[in-house]
């Protein structure tokens, strides 16, 4: 058979098939049911996939809690793997056009795209997680992740034998710097000799690189590892090498039952439920006031937005100290960033008695505190 004829026949079949597909699919099915019901439509924009067991997974758990709490009063949907750029604006705009009443954008990089779309859709509420720009219909929310890291520092300081702690960090943004410094303050509150060295992997989720960094830390003598990246790769490496570590964003015990000391779990569900309820009640606000930073819903362990998993794989004395540190943070007795705070060159940065306020936590932490080796990149 001549191949050309074959191609022609194939082509005809293909065209006919496609024509059938295009006409048989009714465009009303997927999109038309936008309004006409009283359900609240909630959209989520995710940075990675819910399967990451870290950041996005924690948001997905929050979404599940929303569904559990409201039942069929809400309809939720999400888009995963949305890159932080112009595509984000398009995806958020699409969600707005599909009739969502409130849209949560769950990564810092969505800040400007969210703002842009929020201005185009004044009747829809937008909630941006971890940013600082707001609009009349765009609020911001965040968790005080650093509170958990202070407790990690306390545990690390008491557990370490080599006095070397390895820390794997993603990107030098305020949230991560706050975490490293809180870890250092907790560490030095119990152990004046221990030191933290930081490896930046320039990624939130790169299991191979995170594992490599963990191996290097261990080879360099670290016996406690901490991370501000999202995969469980570090903990698994720790488990294999017989050292300890802390989980990130969600409970990672299943990955490292012998190595995980505890995890700080981000409990977004409370926040989502609260804001959706406010929307239903008509009491939704952006919290905007004279103090810009106070308008940001930024809460932590005291309100169960940040939850610590049980203290395990450590002696009772350490667990008790950790519980006390956590209790002091919850009660407000320990505000963590209270002077005297010195940087790692010994220069006093915060005088005794002064506590950094929310704005200062974002704007003035351009140094490592005592106990952290090296210099903040950039």
């Amino acid at each position: 058979m001549k191949l050309n004829k074959f191609v022609v026949i194939l082509g005809v079949v293909v065209v006919a098939g496609l024509a059938f597909i295009m006409t048989s699919q009714k465009p009303t099915e997927k999109e038309a049911d936008v309004s006409a019901d009283k359900q609240v439509k909630v959209g989520f924009v995710y940075l990675t996939t819910p399967g990451d067991h870290g950041w996005t997974y924690a948001h997905e758990v929050g979404r599940q809690n929303v569904i559990k709490h409201f039942g069929d009063k809400v309809v939720t949907s999400y888009v995963e793997n949305v890159p932080e750029g112009p595509d984000a604006a398009r995806v958020i705009r699409d969600m707005a056009k599909q009739g969502n009443d409130i849209i949560f954008t769950t990564s810092f990089g969505y800040m400007d795209p969210t703002l842009k779309v929020a201005q185009e859709f004044p009747d829809i509420k937008f909630e941006h997680i971890t940013g600082y720009k707001r609009a009349p219909n765009m609020a911001t929310g965040n968790i005080r992740f650093y509170e958990g890291r202070y407790v990690q520092g306390v545990v690390a300081g008491m557990m370490t034998k080599s006095n070397k702690i390895g820390y794997i960090a993603s990107f030098p943004i305020p949230e991560v710097i706050q975490g490293i410094n809180a870890f250092g303050l907790g560490l030095r509150s119990v152990n004046k000799d221990a030191e933290v060295s930081v490896i930046w992997v320039n990624s939130w989720y790169d299991p191979v690189k995170e594992a490599d960094a963990a191996k290097v830390h261990i080879a360099e003598g670290a016996d406690i590892l901490a991370q501000h990246t999202d995969s469980p790769a570090m903990l698994q490496t720790a488990e294999k090498a017989g050292v300890y570590g802390f989980g990130q964003s969600s409970d990672m015990k299943a990955f490292a039952p012998k190595a995980q000391l505890f995890s700080s779990v981000n409990n977004w569900g409370i926040y989502y439920i609260d804001k959706i309820q406010a929307l239903i009640d008509g009491s939704w606000t952006t919290g905007e006031g004279p103090d810009h930073w106070a308008g940001n819903r930024w809460v932590g362990m005291a309100d169960d937005y940040l939850v610590l998993t049980p203290f395990e794989n450590m002696p009772d004395t350490v667990a008790k100290a950790a519980s006390k540190a956590a209790a002091d943070i919850k009660s407000g007795a320990n505000k963590i960033f209270t002077g005297p705070i010195r940087d790692n060159n010994g220069v006093e940065k915060v005088p005794a008695g002064k506590t950094l306020n929310d704005g200062e936590l974002f704007t003035t932490l351009d140094y490592y505190v005592e106990g952290i080796v090296g210099k903040i990149p950039g």
Partner: protein
């Protein structure tokens, strides 16, 4: 069993039809894969190729998405036509964006009218500089341009990361990796039609991209440079005998494609973001390779091809929202498309005949290799 004889005449009709067939076949193969993986193929194809076109502003989005692809693929068409394999456009986009950003951020005193030309020149220079490296290494040291241009992509990505997190970071950004916002003169405005207003996000960069592709068509078909490029690709020896300098042509096409990619990076930032961030390109440099091939390395075809591939990209988002299909599927589509395009090229250039072995021959064991050979020669 298959014999191929070069065609003496390459018909226009066939040249146009093969890519169309390739696209249709890709849809079939794609539908098959969806079915195997448990998605409803007709629903998936609908989401991919029809749903993104259901509103006028979405059609505008399609052009916006195709804009960088068209600009980059136009440059790549020259490169590949000359048999020079620049696959590092992704990095050249970044360098173009960085250089244009440098002008916008650090020379705000430039008069408004001159700002855009200055940025375009800077963007061209940036992209060109990065493409020049594999060019000069190839012509001077015979180094493989594929690997060098690709490696530089990683370097460029890390470079902008460093700039935006370090020296170029906006001090007002609270440590987040963003530069200051560009001034108004450095932004590309949306197209505003009299009586209609703006359509979606359609901006002047799209218009420029279309004009560029048309201009490139004339350069390719009517100028000596275009002729040199084609001769170098089709008959390098003939070119050398007729006095063309292959080294100069190699450098020329690399610089041209680098400049195009650089401009695409600048347009992307000025039209959509208005400030630099760690990521300015989201795989456009790689996607444009497919666009160039789909267009059969013809700049006019690039426009159509850019729109088709952009449609698949937008469709990827839709399929994800509607069917929960992971976003990488788009890559699968484009990969298959590229395979089939290349195969189509073979059918275009060669007369391919499949001589199915006859059943009776097989049965009686008459089919011997010698016989096959004589079949083909005959």
């Amino acid at each position: 069993m298959i014999s191929m004889t070069p065609r003496k005449d390459i018909s226009m009709q066939r040249t146009v039809l093969t890519p169309v067939f390739s696209v249709l076949l890709t849809l079939c193969v794609g539908a098959g894969i969806f079915a195997v993986l448990g998605y409803d193929p007709s629903a998936a194809l609908y989401q991919f190729f029809v749903a993104p076109l259901s509103r006028p502003d979405q059609v505008a989005d399609l052009f916006v998405k195709a804009c960088p692809l068209i600009i980059i693929a136009t440059g790549l068409a020259f490169c590949y036509r000359a048999n020079v394999w620049n696959i590092g456009a992704e990095g050249q986009i970044v360098m173009g964006a960085v250089c244009a950003g440098g002008v916008a951020l650090f020379f705000p005193a430039i008069p408004d009218l001159l700002m855009m030309p200055a940025m375009i020149i800077a963007a061209m220079a940036g992209g060109m500089a990065l493409a020049f490296i594999p060019g000069i290494l190839k012509t001077r040291f015979n180094t493989n341009e594929i690997l060098v241009s690709l490696m530089l992509t990683y370097v460029a990505a890390l470079f902008i990361d460093w700039l935006v997190r370090g020296p170029w970071r906006d001090p007002e950004s609270f440590g987040f990796p963003l530069t200051k916002s560009y001034g108004d003169a450095a932004l590309i405005q949306r197209v505003e039609l009299p009586g209609i207003g703006t359509i979606g996000q359609l901006h002047w960069g799209v218009v420029a991209a279309l004009l560029l592709a048309v201009a490139a068509y004339f350069v390719m078909s009517k100028t000596v440079f275009g002729f040199q490029v084609k001769v170098m690709g089709d008959a390098p020896r003939a070119g050398r005998f007729s006095g063309f300098n292959p080294a100069r042509t190699t450098l020329g096409v690399l610089c041209l494609s680098g400049a195009c990619a650089g401009v695409a990076g600048m347009v992307e930032v000025s039209a959509n973001m208005g400030q630099l961030q760690p990521e300015v390109s989201f795989g456009y440099g790689f996607t444009a390779i497919i666009v160039a091939f789909l267009a059969r390395l013809n700049p006019l075809g690039v426009i159509m091809a850019g729109l088709v591939v952009a449609l698949a990209e937008l469709g990827g988002d839709r399929a994800q929202m509607a069917l929960g299909m992971p976003k990488v599927v788009t890559g699968l589509f484009t990969g298959i498309l590229l395979f089939l395009l290349l195969a189509g090229e073979t059918f275009n250039r060669y007369h391919v005949q499949i001589n199915w072995p006859r059943f009776d021959q097989l049965k009686s064991g008459q089919l011997k290799s010698g016989q096959l050979k004589s079949d083909e020669e005959g």
